[in-house]
């Protein structure tokens, strides 16, 4: 389907996917990045654009559970799949995810611009490797740049979250 917008023909296609657990159905421009779809169409502005080149990781979201740079993925590539953003990281929005709590408790946040992407990458990391040690944490978040913290307190935050999640899993 093509519509005329500002005298320009823009190709639109239907996108059906799940975002933060909710079904989404929208017409989107075929050339639209997932990042812009999330930020502009769905107003989920927690996902940030730092470089637009897939280098800084600030726009990291989970696509079917795997971390991707939303600036390097077309919105239509999410068709039929599940997207989780920082706004959906905690199943209950009133309760912080252990990673979010870890970043607060350990002082892992400064300017905060990298944090949503950082948390998404770390969530994927702990999901894949619940026993991640410091080396695994360092490797797992190496695609997310932080210019403020020097990373040390972020490592501590992820370690706190790992312990918290281990405890939760043990109680189950």
């Amino acid at each position: 389907m093509a519509i005329k917008k500002n005298n320009n023909f823009i190709k639109l296609a239907a996108l059906r996917c799940r975002v933060n657990g909710r079904a989404v159905q929208k017409m989107v421009e075929t050339g639209k990045r997932l990042l812009d779809f999330l930020r502009s169409d769905l107003r989920l502005t927690g996902t940030k654009e730092g470089c637009g080149d897939g280098e800084c990781g600030a726009c990291t979201v989970l696509l079917d559970g795997r971390p991707v740079n939303a600036c390097m993925v077309m919105a239509l590539q999410a068709a039929g799949r599940s997207v989780v953003t920082i706004e959906g990281i905690s199943p209950d929005p009133r309760i912080l995810h252990p990673l979010q709590q870890g970043f607060i408790d350990q002082g892992g946040v400064q300017c905060g611009f990298c944090i949503p992407g950082m948390i998404m990458s770390c969530a994927a990391l702990l999901e894949k490797n619940p026993q991640a040690d410091l080396e695994a944490i360092k490797a797992g978040m190496s695609g997310n740049l932080c210019r403020c913290t020097g990373y040390e307190k972020i490592f501590r935050a992820v370690e706190q979250a790992r312990r918290e999640l281990e405890l939760k899993n043990a109680q189950r």
Binding site: C51, D53, G150
Partner: protein
């Protein structure tokens, strides 16, 4: 003390981890246009024509804007008043803004900018600062391509070198470094019905934006309002530059009558915004056989780029500190900032000091080796102590922790043992280990060169429910200003920390408080907040006392802590007291003010009390070098910092760790490649930032030598940590491989070559 010295949680952390904190690009408004910038592609070009005819055909195009459309003065009122908001006759660097376009969407704006035709005539240019200083060089600025010169002259340097038993000399150079804040520059401007404009955006210094917008639009200051939004890092890169971005957005808003958003992409941020000055330093030190320094002589040149921006002040800070934190009787430092046809360099954390410190800390090591002294002992022998004079003749009356910092890092790093053991350490043949040290001091706040701006205001308002709103003129840019200011206000008022809300900085709420730079916010805004709190505290405490009296606790003295006021028999909370104050119709809002103590600088001699006080840092870096590849890993950094009083230990550590990693990026991996005035690698693919794997192990020691005029004794912290780690790491490399690298960034190729060359010489 209740709230001071406690690692309370950051006041803005929760909104940031939830993705709820709103940065400028997260805002959008009905009817809002987007702007994009048309830039000159040449290092130097005459502008013959700007043609929007093709741009007009882009659907959504609204209007083009050139220098001719600037209603006020097309010169940025910053230090030298030489930078036009939009280039008019000549563009002086590749990336300079020549025109703007406003359009209905971001894509349309960018398409229209790309479709704008510039008819340019390329002119001869100069991109090397040493070439620029030659008489025959093409003109960038004035008659001699010099933005500023300084001299610091103490004693008789010739005599100092005569007295020396050993002399070391060398030339040291440093490259560019990008601030690389993760959020690019961005602003939204709203036209107001009174003919003025309101700006929201990412910035460190709202009052600089205010100055620039009023000048460009030719309107009164009371028609401009600037409000900071959550800012994704600054590091100096959002000191002056947002004034340019904001003025562009304001021009577009006023000329179209609609709100305008202007957000930079990473590439244009890289090519057009400020960056750390490359430097060239020729340095000489002399010392007696016993290690006492006798003389220091330096020539210090910064490559400033095409416009002065903040270069004169950056140069001044670098010059004043260029002899290092040592007691030296004879000093002669001469410096200049050279204009070249490249993007203007400006403020970046450390502000000229990382450059001059790389030279002085590298050469101090060489002189120690010549004297056959341990480099740390050599520094300790000469380190500034209370009662000593700095290079500018400033007598240090108090709060000087240089010796303490050096001793602490020596002991905590196990320096003596590692210094002895590492040369013999071998692993897999090619890997070598070394340990190195560097010392630095940092003049807190603006000092004599910026003394007219060195004041700060605050507004504190206690609400009827006992919560408190605090407004300051400095900004939160990630460094933790809001948290630290909240702690200071909570401490003063005996209010619960959670009750304090520090608002986003707004020029209509608090008068011009100078810039958020020079590690000055804790000191300046902290003192202004204390000043505002003082009468409020009196009212709160008196009211609490009377309430307790009524409750039957007349005789015993009242104690106040954790937001509670109590005597043996009774207790009232801060909120109850606040409510009672309102019922008694007491004034519950106050303005605070603080102006810095006097400083001085004689431009003829460079002598004077340059800064109100200094922070002191010592860093010990340990490296592992692969001699076969040049790959160098900094394994551990032990650092100690005298910051007067630690308001929040966790936040202080965060500043230090972050500063160290930025410094190690500066030392080893961050390299802007510039060819004939063009930045070849304007992106994070080719300009490498330190990632998680590059972070060393940290051992951080916080020292308190209280500064009596600081809030609870605090000085300042943010910049001192970025100054020492680079030379400390290069000194460790010297220790590991026996070679001195005199340029940073020291890329693996350079290290590999130097080590290979050094090994051949040994054989």
């Amino acid at each position: 003390m209740g709230w001071i010295g406690k690692s309370v949680k950051r006041s803005d952390a929760k909104s940031k981890v939830m993705g709820a904190a709103l940065y400028i690009d997260d805002y959008g408004y009905e009817g809002m246009l987007h702007a994009a910038t048309v830039r000159s592609p040449y290092p130097r070009a005459r502008i013959k024509k700007i043609d929007f005819s093709q741009a007009q055909k882009v659907p959504g195009f609204v209007r083009g804007i050139t220098a001719k459309d600037v209603p006020g003065k097309n010169l940025w009122p910053l230090v030298m008043h030489d930078y036009p908001f939009l280039a008019e006759r000549e563009a002086k660097f590749a990336g300079e803004a020549v025109a703007l376009v406003a359009a209905e969407s971001l894509q349309a704006a960018r398409d229209a900018a790309a479709a704008t035709r510039l008819l340019l005539e390329e002119l001869p240019c100069v991109t090397d600062p040493l070439q620029a200083l030659k008489k025959s060089a093409p003109r960038v600025y004035g008659r001699d391509n010099v933005f500023a010169r300084y001299v610091v002259k103490k004693g008789d340097v010739a005599k100092g070198f005569e007295e020396a038993d050993a002399v070391a000399e060398g030339i040291f150079t440093t490259g560019y470094q990008m601030q690389a804040y993760l959020e690019t520059q961005g602003m939204i401007a709203f036209p107001e019905s009174h003919g003025g404009v309101t700006l929201y955006g990412s910035m460190q210094c709202p009052y600089y934006v205010h100055d620039a917008v009023a000048a460009a639009l030719g309107i009164a200051y009371n028609k401009v309002r600037v409000v900071q939004r959550s800012t994704g890092g600054g590091f100096g890169g959002k000191e002056d530059m947002p004034a340019l971005v904001g003025t562009h957005a304001a021009l577009a808003a006023v000329l179209t009558g609609r709100p305008v958003k202007l957000i930079y992409d990473r590439r244009e941020d890289f090519i057009s915004m400020s960056r750390r000055h490359p430097s060239w330093t020729q340095l000489r030190y002399g010392a007696k056989r016993d290690g006492a320094l006798t003389a220091c002589q330096a020539k210090f040149i910064l490559d400033a780029g095409a416009y002065a921006t903040l270069s004169p002040i950056v140069l001044w800070r670098g010059t004043v500190h260029a002899a290092g934190p040592y007691r030296i009787p004879h000093v002669l430092i001469e410096s200049c900032a050279a204009a070249t046809h490249k993007a203007p360099c400006g403020a970046f954390r450390g502000f000229g000091q990382p450059q001059s410190a790389f030279a002085h800390e590298s050469l101090i090591d060489e002189l120690a080796l010549k004297l056959d002294m341990d480099p740390l002992d050599f520094r300790l022998k000469n380190a500034l102590r209370v009662g000593d004079e700095t290079a500018t003749g400033q007598k240090l009356g108090e709060s000087c922790g240089m010796v303490d910092a050096l001793e602490e890092v020596r002991d905590a790093s196990d320096w003596k043992k590692k210094r002895a053991d590492y040369p013999a350490w071998k692993s897999g043949g090619a890997r070598r280990r070394g340990i190195g040290v560097a010392a630095n001091y940092y003049g807190v706040s603006l000092g004599a060169r910026g003394r007219y701006l060195d004041r700060a205001a605050a507004q504190v308002q206690i609400q009827p429910d006992g919560t408190v709103m605090v407004a300051i003129g400095n900004t939160e840019i990630g460094q933790g200003a809001r948290t630290v200011i909240s702690q200071i206000a909570a401490e003063s008022l005996n209010a619960p920390y959670e009750h304090i809300q520090v608002l986003e900085t707004d020029t209509s709420r608090v008068p011009d408080s100078g810039p958020t730079v020079a590690s000055r916010t804790t000191l300046m805004s902290g003192n202004a907040v204390l000043n505002a709190c003082e009468p409020l505290r009196r009212r709160i405490f008196e009211t609490a006392q009377e309430m307790l009296k009524k409750k039957g606790g007349a005789e015993t003295p009242m104690s106040a802590s954790d937001g509670k006021f109590s005597v043996a028999a009774a207790e009232v909370g801060f909120a109850e007291v606040a409510r009672e104050c309102y019922l008694r119709k007491l004034k519950m809002a106050e303005q605070g003010w603080y102006s810095a103590p006097p400083t001085s600088f004689d431009t003829e001699t460079g002598q004077g009390d340059a800064y109100v006080t200094y922070a002191y840092s010592a860093n010990v870096a340990e490296v592992e070098v692969d001699a076969e590849t040049g790959e160098t890993k900094v394994t551990k950094v032990t650092s100690a910092h005298d910051i007067g009083k630690v308001i929040n230990p966790n936040a202080a550590e965060g500043q230090i760790e972050g500063g160290i990693v930025q410094a190690l990026g500066y030392a080893f991996i961050e390299e802007i490649i510039e060819r004939e005035g063009q930045v070849v690698n304007p992106n994070f693919t080719d300009y490498i930032l330190p990632a998680s794997a590059d972070a060393p192990e940290f051992k951080t020691i916080l020292l308190e030598h209280p500064y009596p005029a600081g809030p609870y004794g605090a000085k300042g912290l943010a910049e001192s940590p970025i100054i020492g780690p680079a030379p400390a790491a290069l000194n460790a490399l010297r220790h590991a491989c026996g070679v001195r690298l005199s340029h940073i960034p020291a890329m693996p190729e350079a290290i590999w070559k130097a080590v290979k060359h050094g090994d051949q010489k040994k054989q």
